[in-house]
Symmetry: C2
């Protein structure tokens, strides 16, 4: 096997498109140069449609978690109250960040694999008038569930004065996001998912209402102080050293996203989700997320006692050079997750399904070779 | 002029060596894979000699400032006292970070262009027994001054029980640093200086004594919580998503550093400093730093009324494709700074000097063409 052909089908990082790789090879430039400032300011503006906002998108050298923390430390103070929707590992991370800062957290927890429904949020908020912010996860990467952000935003707007803050790390750029129209106040994402870049950048956009709150509060941190980023962005730059080579790549990512167009990108991801789910059903492998709330970027499968998920992943990796993800938290070792996001096309999905079928046979699990591929082909043919 | 041949002679980012660029082009891998873990753990260990420590070096997705903040939020609590040595813009940044967290800051300030002497620190510490940490800047990038860290560490060890925390962003990898032997407790640096990588990574190493303090305190932040990094490093990984492509590059940087060897790297930088200073003296351009405390990675020049530093920079950039840095803070527009660090050799120094001479003539400043180059050549010839 070519070691250079290791195929990443995990929910981030995505493989890097060659033209993005090429863009990152441009010679280094000074991050305080006019050349960089022009590039940076133009690129920031090109990101806004993917967030669905007319406001600024702030670009941070850091992981997605750094931007999650940024959304907390600029909007809340110790002793204030927040509701955190916890439907998996990343909802739990939001709760932990809040708690680190002495914020009183009300967890709205659902079983891993389920979504938080608008009804559940509505009744949860009813007796909590003090809540200053509601945190939600758009795509819960650990379970493959996509929470109904638009509807949840509607509830928050209707039932409270809280800010609605959304972790969209593992889906933004692949899903609809109209933060201005829906009434979402902060959206956070990372570079290595649907944005098809290496890991190392995070993004955050904030609404006018969020800024009113931010302006009224003392930031609880320094590197993550949003007001410093806004002040610098007005001068087309960043307060601290930006990750220049990744921003070179981001320019080319914007070109690719704009060429395909967000509606087509969303459809491509829906198609890949439908193909993957059809295949898993045909192979008799239970899906974690329901039809209604299945993520378009990652599919989680729970084989229960039918076979060992870790054994499947190992054979896929060692015999077929394909990497899929395992479980997180209490699902570690029990489930497998197929990433189908970013630089990934329907034919790539057929490939990973075919490899899963062979691997199942190789680990001695009952499998009808070709059955999953056929089901996915039928979905694909109905769309093209 | 080839736009791809723009020559960076600023105090970071440094140009990227082709073999490092090449290494960053490897296909993306999962950051939770065994393959990445092995690579990461090996590379972390290879960094230790450049810090002069037998302890772990933590690698952070973020700018140098994020690691400066990391050194604060893990070692101090609001209301505790710190001494910050301020000899320029980056010392001032340390003070501001501390103040953001409600730490009582005692600034030991010296004129920009001067170093903090051991004597000054000794008397400053004398009446401050409560001080829990002393913060210093190894190379103050904004003035080209290298503070005498070894001697300052000796004073801190002798006169107080405080931790000694050092910002070595713009020099580590190019200067002697024996944190264990000298009694330095935390050393912080960034990727885009002597480590010859793009911007986007930061590094931090901590002493046993620092860890005793860190273990006794509640971290004031989440993404920058050092205990989380230590726990993950024991499992050969990071608590949050690492910047994988930059770490691919870092492996090759370690190869380059190890091949040349730290003693030779230090000598190369000293030589480039000496060449640059000899040239500026020959051209009659005043140097900001004294002989004793001149940085080996950046040289700051203050033309006073002889010519306009900004005009010189502009002609260098537009007519000769070479970028040098201007001043920061109250020196903005008044000085120019030549970076000679990382992927930079003595012949590169001759080139920038020759271009400065021509630019001086082009802006109508008095200059003897070749005089600076000759002085630098003589320094170089005496060394080879």
């Amino acid at each position: 096997m070519f070691t250079d052909k290791m195929i990443l089908r995990i929910p981030g990082p995505t493989p890097i498109p060659p033209r993005v790789q090429q863009a990152m090879n441009q010679p280094m430039i000074g991050h305080r140069s006019g050349q960089f400032s022009e590039l940076f300011a133009r690129t920031e503006q090109r990101l806004r449609p993917y967030f669905g906002t007319s406001g600024e998108v702030f670009i941070l050298a850091g992981s997605g978690t750094s931007a999650l923390e940024m959304s907390v430390v600029n909007t809340l103070q110790p002793g204030e109250e927040a509701v955190v929707l916890v439907s998996g590992a990343f909802g739990e991370r939001f709760a932990k960040i809040c708690e680190r800062y002495g914020i009183i957290v009300h967890r709205l927890e659902v079983e891993w694999g389920e979504a938080v429904t608008p009804e559940a949020l509505s009744s949860f908020l009813a007796d909590k008038p003090q809540v200053q912010a509601v945190f939600a996860t758009y795509c819960e990467t650990s379970t493959g569930v996509q929470n109904p952000i638009r509807e949840l935003a509607h509830i928050v707007r209707e039932k409270s004065n809280a800010l609605f803050i959304v972790d969209a790390v593992s889906c933004l750029g692949a899903v609809a996001c109209e933060m201005d129209a829906w009434g979402v106040d902060i959206v956070v994402t990372g570079s290595q998912k649907a944005f098809m870049l290496p890991t190392g950048l995070a993004f955050l956009a904030a609404s006018k209402r969020a800024w009113d709150v931010i302006d009224s509060k003392k930031p609880l941190a320094f590197y993550l102080d949003l007001k410093a980023y806004r002040k610098s962005l007005a001068d087309k730059t960043t307060p601290y050293t930006p990750a220049v080579s990744l921003i070179f790549g981001l320019v080319e990512v914007c070109n690719m996203l704009d060429e395909e167009g967000l509606p087509a990108i969303i459809k491509r991801h829906e198609l890949m989700r439908d193909m993957t789910r059809a295949a898993m059903r045909a192979l008799g492998i239970p899906l974690m997320a329901s039809e209604e709330y299945a993520a378009t970027t990652v599919t989680s499968c729970h084989p229960h006692d039918a076979f060992d998920a870790e054994q499947l992943r190992k054979v896929l990796r060692t015999k077929h050079n394909i990497v899929i993800a395992g479980g997180q938290g209490h699902l570690k070792g029990k489930i497998f997750r197929i990433g189908h996001m970013g630089f990934c096309e329907p034919l790539d999905v057929l490939q990973v399904i075919a490899a899963i079928e062979m691997s199942l046979q190789q680990i001695g699990a009952p499998v009808e070779l070709g059955a999953g591929v056929k089901a996915a082909q039928e979905v694909l043919l109905a769309h093209v």
